[in-house]
Amino acid sequence: MKTLIAKGKIPLATHYNEDQSTKFSIKDKLLLGLSLSEYLAQAFRNPFNWILAVIFTFGGYVTITRFLFGLGYVTHSSYDYPWGLFLGFGLFTMVPLSASGFMLGTTVEVFGRHDFKPIERLALLNGLLGYFFAVVFLQVDLGQPWRLIYPMFVSLGPAAVLFLVAWHVATYLSVQVAELVPAFAEWAGMPKLKTFIKSMILGLTIAGIILSTLHQGALGALFTYAPGKVHPLWYSAPFQWFHFFTSSVFAGLSMLIVVSTICKKTMAWRADNNFLDNLDRLTLGLAKGATLALITYLVIKIIAIAHDGDWAYLASGWGQWFMLEMAVGVILPMILFTVSIRNNLAGLARFAALLAVLGIVLNRLNTALITFNWKLYQEIPHWREVVICITVYALYIVTYRFILYRLPILYTWKKDEEAAG
């Protein structure tokens, strides 16, 4: 795409072409204003696409075998570890890393911080896709995915935590779709739809906060069903939901910093100056929020250890593993964020955000897989399970990129009169 821009092509961001004579068709918009051969040529030039092709060829095949031969073919069919990587990684880490949607929605729409507007849509998209693919992961893992709607309509178990997760994720997905409708409406040229959504944006955002608080917490509360199975340092009946909720706050913000960095590095052509020029300032703003959440999380973690009387476990091997997770995934990013805010170093904040993201992945894997059944043996996921996870994640990246290239997420759609002038 860069080479094409150098040749004088302008990425499509209006309804009409330069001389105002013709209106772009949906096909033009989908092909970014290029001809089909130009579009394919730029796609083939990108080495990342070749890596993706390899992943989809091999991983796609393995993923299909899961549905042809059952879960037993791609996992170890463990009775002791009913949840493997699909949920341990796919559900339990994708969801907190997608908390950015409700965080930035709250910041801009509820707290009226309109200075965060340039990154709001990216945050919303990150939220929507993360949730959507968490559900995709869930569908890979469920024994009978075609019964997904059973808890909604067929047989209801309203006292179960998972019931709450199912309903909230479903409702929140629709809230997030609605929140992103304005971007789609601009692109597709449907202004009335945008006005309609804008009229209820505050309600949607507050609904988003409620649903997010509860299902982020509920994912943690799911583990309170297993008091003897999760290691005490990763388990606290009264605080589990709060641990998962507070950590999702900095997880979402840090993920947003990471994603925006990737966008800046790999698709600067698609972003406009409103995004690029503000990004360093916004990164530090997000870092401030993340630091507050990190310190809250650290304190409540320590309180939980004190409350449950788990100090003695810190001296064990599990305790060292726990302290490593806290040091690298919580304390270090917190210090680095603080230094970067003080000295105005957006680059350092980006590195700290990456650490925090990895810290969250480690924390969720620790809770769901590594310290789970700590009194039994350690389950190592089947290689096919790993391949399927990589494949679904690659699908997530491709979808993400497809939307970023097209919808006005990183750039502002030019109004018709502006484009004319």
């Binding site: 707290f111 178990g157 799911l222 309170t224 069903y225």
Partner: protein, 302 residues
Amino acid sequence: MKAMNRRKFLKGSLLGGAAASVIGKSKNAEASATFGGYPDAMGVLVDLTRCVGCRSCEAACNKEQGLPAPAQAFDDLSLLDHKRRTSEGAYTVVNRYEIPGQDHPLFRKIQCNHCNEPACLTSCFVNAYTKTPEGAVIYDPTVCVGCRTCMVACPFYIPAYSYSSVLNPVIKKCIFCYDTRLKFGRPPACVEACPREVLTFGKRNDLIKIGHQRIQMYPDLYEDHIYGENEVGGTSWMYLSSAPFDQVGFDTDLGTQPILSYVKEFLTVVPMVLTIWPALFAGFHLLATRKDAQKKEEQSEK
């Protein structure tokens, strides 16, 4: 016109009723944390001191439940050399435990303990599980989605899953022979098959008395504890042992609270967030945007 209104009213009250029934259900479940079990629930008392590890119970279970033939025959006792757990093909298994200081090993039969307040039941989001008044914990496989939360929740590692099935994988576990026997007041197949009277079938309340009597009569033989009398809120299947329970593979750290009591801390937060958050954040919004609102007002006054 009036008729219309009445119809609307009826519709509304129906919806309200439906909502109330949903809320009512969850209330029941929460109230049941103090539920001590059905008064006439049946149970089985397993006396480890009598078991010789013949695996007759396994064979009887296999036949009664129509399970697939095992890879190794039931009279092949070499299986006891390693520890096994319940699986999709075996709802009950017997394990052998060498006890330090005792000249003979102890054998322990494992199956669903049929908790008074089952964790599997309370964690199921399609309400597939039922605790029957007879004491059995049964489940409806036709609604099972396959989330396997019940397997995570079960403190005894009992429910298994038919991973090998492509089109209809479901949870598999002991149902106390509910459909074929318990419902009609008959003991489960394993109890009938036991040649050593290891398994005593009866009302749970009576079994607790019998257990304590045995302990009283032979205080040197038995540990002074009935495993399952109070563990995780009490179970229908209970155990007597001559060795400390942790030496025969029992988890002795489970506590006496039903698993649901650990989850309740979160469940109480839910209605609070649902009711307080909207007002709180709408308030934040008004507070944060008050200057914009003031400006607007001033402009309109001009």
